[in-house]
Subunit: 355 residues, 2 copies
């Protein structure tokens, strides 16, 4: 799948340290790793067997990926988990962003701890059908930095897959960090034999984000993970005009807040403006946005979610946006996307209660 | 500095594979790595000597970090490099985001290639005093994913530091990926002996971003890198009202674009509204934003930059926002931040021409 395991100081035609000929092929002659490679244990990783056993009770596994960070991937993962749970599915949400876990905060679970039983590590439950696991639950101090190189991160991801007792799940949603490196290679390698339904890729409309998404799509193709679809997030800001503040540039260069005055002025002179929705294309999408990229790369666009301050607030406060009638900018869009995802992939058949 | 190098399967009190007692201490008894550790070469890395030589011609080294991705770190790095170059400094910009390099795009250098000379790898030059290096210049196809685990990423970072011929530089700005993992440990270890001025940490006002920034500050403290300051980016959207689109929710649930009509209506009924600036707090900052975090962590806040669609566009098009008179929302804020940074750290003395 990848040659990521080849040490940086290896010889040119390194067969890979996991290969049967590791340390023994002609190319290994003189390599500083030759002895290690020749004697290290090979063959199937016993952890993979344990992972397959754990995953036997999980019907569907969905990865949520992004090329760039900060595009709303964890917000989407959290809202996807909330939505599936609200549909009465049994849902697990696994956060494998080891250095920047956002999931505990976004599910309203800050300060919670993981408990251990004879069945394994217990997820933290938001509701009886929505369990969550993250390294965020393991840090004694939330400000602590997790300064880990790849192998330790990979070790923890393996433990999450091997040691967490999820029980019967309809969906395991895996929230990955941005990029295409250790965590991604590990999760795909670990879940490969257990069957992954596919990946949802989250992006924003800007070229600079789409460049990285293309890499993420290439990654999925390379490792054989189906792209279930792309979600374009922060597709412009959409907000009631009366939710804005208004300022005026004064002659001395200062900006003066005139919000109160303008609201009165509008009521009196221009009442038609009071129920307008103001939209701004915050991030430049003149390059065609996600739709063009999807067409070019041959992957489906699941939909667009506008930048909605109320969704940002719901995420900050660990709430589902679907229960919030004020999330008019984003909740309907998210709902459509999740329905489309379930329908297009025949996932609705998965509910343990047969719904 | 960190124990990130300890293999995941090491014994409990592992002295670290680089320690003098590696493979020989009591704690190593029975460890699967004992033999490797006991025989592997130790002592100072010869690459560090080569890096120190290269860096001898670089006066100031500034890292740009963020806890979370997508907060505008690369945009800030790019604009910082543009600004320093405009002040007649000799500037190098090094992108060590291996899996998601944004810098080539943001400097308008897409499709450029690196050339090699007998002095080393030549940076790609935007102007004669602004050179750029990124893995983005090395990919035969920009959609290619760089599916590398940590050791290969670290290897390339070392090569960037060791093999790039920057010549005499006043500033080397290093744009790091988000997080606190391989790339960060590597860059700090590699530059440790050469003297790093410090790190600028970029964040957005949301709690979920600030949580990760706290980790980044902890990282800097742990590895002994000075925090030069924090930049709060996307501090609300600030845009002329007439730049918005306006829609109206119709009885059938559809949103109708009424922009043209409303602009006419405003001109006629409410002309006072035409020169307003509309501001929206896109990302919730009710938790106190970056200022509160800075006070708590004892690090300086350099300033706030509003979310400005015109800055986003400048970044997309690889332009400096300072040359764009329309970037009224962000350019003055960025300029103030850079002036403050230079002044507070006595960096202005650094100009090779003595300015």
């Amino acid at each position: 799948m990848d040659n990521g395991d080849i040490p940086e100081n290896a010889n040119e035609h390194c067969p890979g340290p996991q290969s049967e000929s590791a340390g023994k092929s002609d190319a290994c002659e003189g390599c500083p790793n030759q002895q290690i490679c020749a004697t290290a244990p090979k063959g199937p990783d016993p952890d993979l067997v344990a992972i397959a056993e754990r995953m036997a009770t999980v019907k569907h596994k969905i990865l949520v990926l992004s090329g760039k960070g900060g595009v709303g991937k964890s917000t989407f993962s959290a809202q996807l988990a909330f939505a599936l749970a609200a549909m009465d599915f049994q849902v697990g949400l696994l956060d494998i962003d080891i250095c920047g876990p956002s999931i505990p905060k976004m599910l309203g679970l800050e300060g919670q701890e993981i408990h251990q039983s004879n069945l394994g590590w217990s997820p933290v439950y938001v509701e009886s059908n929505l369990g969550v696991m993250s390294i965020g639950f393991m840090l004694p101090n939330p400000d602590d930095a997790v300064i880990w190189r790849g192998p330790r991160k990979n070790g923890l991801i393996k433990q999450f897959l091997k040691d967490v007792y999820w029980g019967e799940l309809d969906f395991l949603v895996v929230d990955a960090p941005p990029g295409t490196s250790d965590e991604h290679i590990s999760i795909v390698q670990c879940l490969d034999a257990t069957g992954v339904d596919g990946a949802i890729i989250v992006t924003t409309p800007q070229q600079v984000s789409l460049i990285d998404v293309r890499k993420e799509v290439s990654f999925c193709k390379k490792v054989g993970v189906k792209v279930l679809g792309v979600v374009e997030n922060m597709s412009g800001l959409s907000q009631p005009l009366t939710d804005f503040k208004f300022t005026k540039l004064m002659d001395n260069g200062e900006q003066k807040d005139v919000t109160e005055w303008i609201l009165g002025y509008m009521r009196e002179k221009a009442p038609e403006m009071l129920n307008l929705i103001a939209c701004s294309e915050v991030f430049d999408s003149s390059g065609g946005g996600a739709l063009k990229m999807c067409n070019e790369m041959g992957v489906p666009l699941l939909g667009r979610v506008p930048l909605d301050p109320r969704l940002c607030k719901a995420a900050e406060e660990g709430r589902s946006c679907f229960a919030d009638k004020d999330c008019v900018g984003s909740a309907p869009a998210l709902k459509k996307i999740i329905e489309k995802l379930i329908e297009a992939n025949g996932l609705s058949m998965a509910a343990s209660n047969g719904v």
